[in-house]
Symmetry: C2
Subunit: 246 residues, 2 copies
DNA sequence: AATTAGAAGTGGACTAGACCACTAATTTGT
DNA sequence: ACAAATTAGTGGTCTAGTCCACTTCTAATT
């Protein structure tokens, strides 16, 4: 009955157990009884202490995969629809997960002095330089959004040398610079398309567009990126998932 | 040096410690050294085991108040701007937190057969009844949003008897029915105002509006409420907070 | 003076137990 | 046959440690 875990490995036991359970949940292996084995049983099965099992289960609970009922047991969350929700990924990753082929047309890529609002978003001092990237974002070859991105220049030297037409910006940043995106703040508003944006997106001026202002932070709360993305309202909806995280 | 915790009380020790630390963080008591006492020191100070301290700290970490650095210490997250972010609260709570006085004009409140999309959102069977609530939402007396809410009728008998003009719907639901809102799914899109909605909100037809489709769930993933809210784009922006929760 | 090795301190992981509050099924008493 | 009390099982909390990987500062060595 004992399962095989990589002992003394790099991956913690609780993470391995969580992953194993995650797969079993995905395969509907708890469907009949619809509840997981008890914590004590899992501890025995994996030859670990109960606290370690609880750590694994808590991870799954935070992911929304399971929930506990005191005095009863642990249950699988049977959400059928696994809708695409907005997360920390960028445009490329989002389109890929929707089954669309993302591409970009770079309109601007230059270093410049930060404007006041960008300075505030990125918490830079006066006179600080930023990298200004302006792109038209395409999905399956069709214009989907117009995006303006600002990055602190001192964090990303020689960014200009990368091909941002095909590659995801986020991929370039994480692979070439030692930075991890940890959380983000987004402000969404509806607006009427300006003539310039309307022309870029191939819609009529005054048509509704969805504007997303985003600031991405590292774990130590340092701003990494500030972006304004204008989506065609007839092609794009933003989906969010809200939860009482405790 | 020892602190006073309510032993053998209803509130767990880790929750009490978390609350105590939360207050100290709010009061900037760790500002000078900018890092919290070590886990071992906190354990000694509160006369609990280190695991209990770690449980308290993890709670604060999930709330985004602190972060850990392996081998170094635990630090306070110095986010100055504590922007209002969209959470599980309803319109009333959101407006109150913005310093505005919410009120409502009830346009419709009746039981009716669920339409197809409402049935799907609330996961009801064919022929199920829902409570349909249509309200104009005001902030400081001015029209801010037009909201259509659908609730499974069998969950909320006699809902019609409550005064929804002044009271928050969420408050009525949680106080009078044994249900806890746990998480929600929101879809946001930009649209042009229809003539009807434009008249209600006092804007011109065709002006951009922000439409929020929301489904609220209990912890066991049962749909409790489905709502469509149409906000004036010139008065309202939606703010979200995204994080890699692990 | 610069480098290196070590010590001290940190959070991360984990153990092997314990007691509690709660639920649900079972047994017992009427 | 019904109701009440018992019991087994569950997750929630907590203890008092251990060992590890990592960072930082210090002291010894070159």
């Amino acid at each position: 009955m004992q399962e095989t875990l990589q002992r003394n490995g790099i991956v913690p036991l609780h993470a391995q157990i969580a992953e194993a359970l995650r797969i079993q949940i995905q395969n509907d292996e708890f469907k009949e009884k619809e509840h997981l084995p008890s914590e004590r049983e899992l501890a025995e099965r994996y030859l670990v202490s109960r606290m370690t099992v609880r750590q694994a289960l808590q991870k799954l609970r935070l992911e929304g995969l399971i929930y506990h009922e005191r005095g009863v047991g642990t249950f699988v969350n049977n959400r059928k629809i696994d809708v695409h929700t907005r997360n920390l990924n960028g445009f490329s990753e989002e389109m890929l997960s929707l089954g669309l082929k993302p591409s970009s047309r770079v309109l601007t890529l230059q270093r410049e002095l930060a404007t006041d609002d960008v300075m505030e978003n990125l918490r830079l001092g006066a006179g600080a330089e930023v990298i200004h990237l302006e792109r038209l974002r395409l999905a399956d070859g069709e214009a989907m959004a117009f995006e303006q991105t600002f990055l602190p220049a001192y964090l990303f030297p020689k960014l200009e040398e990368f091909d941002l037409t095909k590659n995801s910006l986020y991929q370039v940043l994480t692979e070439n610079y030692d930075l991890e995106m940890h959380h983000a703040e987004e402000i969404l508003e509806a607006k009427a398309a300006t003539r310039f944006v309307a022309k870029q997106l191939g819609i009529r001026a005054g048509a509704p567009v969805l504007v997303v202002h985003r600031v991405v932070f590292s774990e130590s709360n340092q701003p990494i990126e500030s972006a304004h993305t204008t989506y065609r309202a007839d092609r794009y909806r933003a989906t969010f998932y809200l939860s009482k995280n405790t």
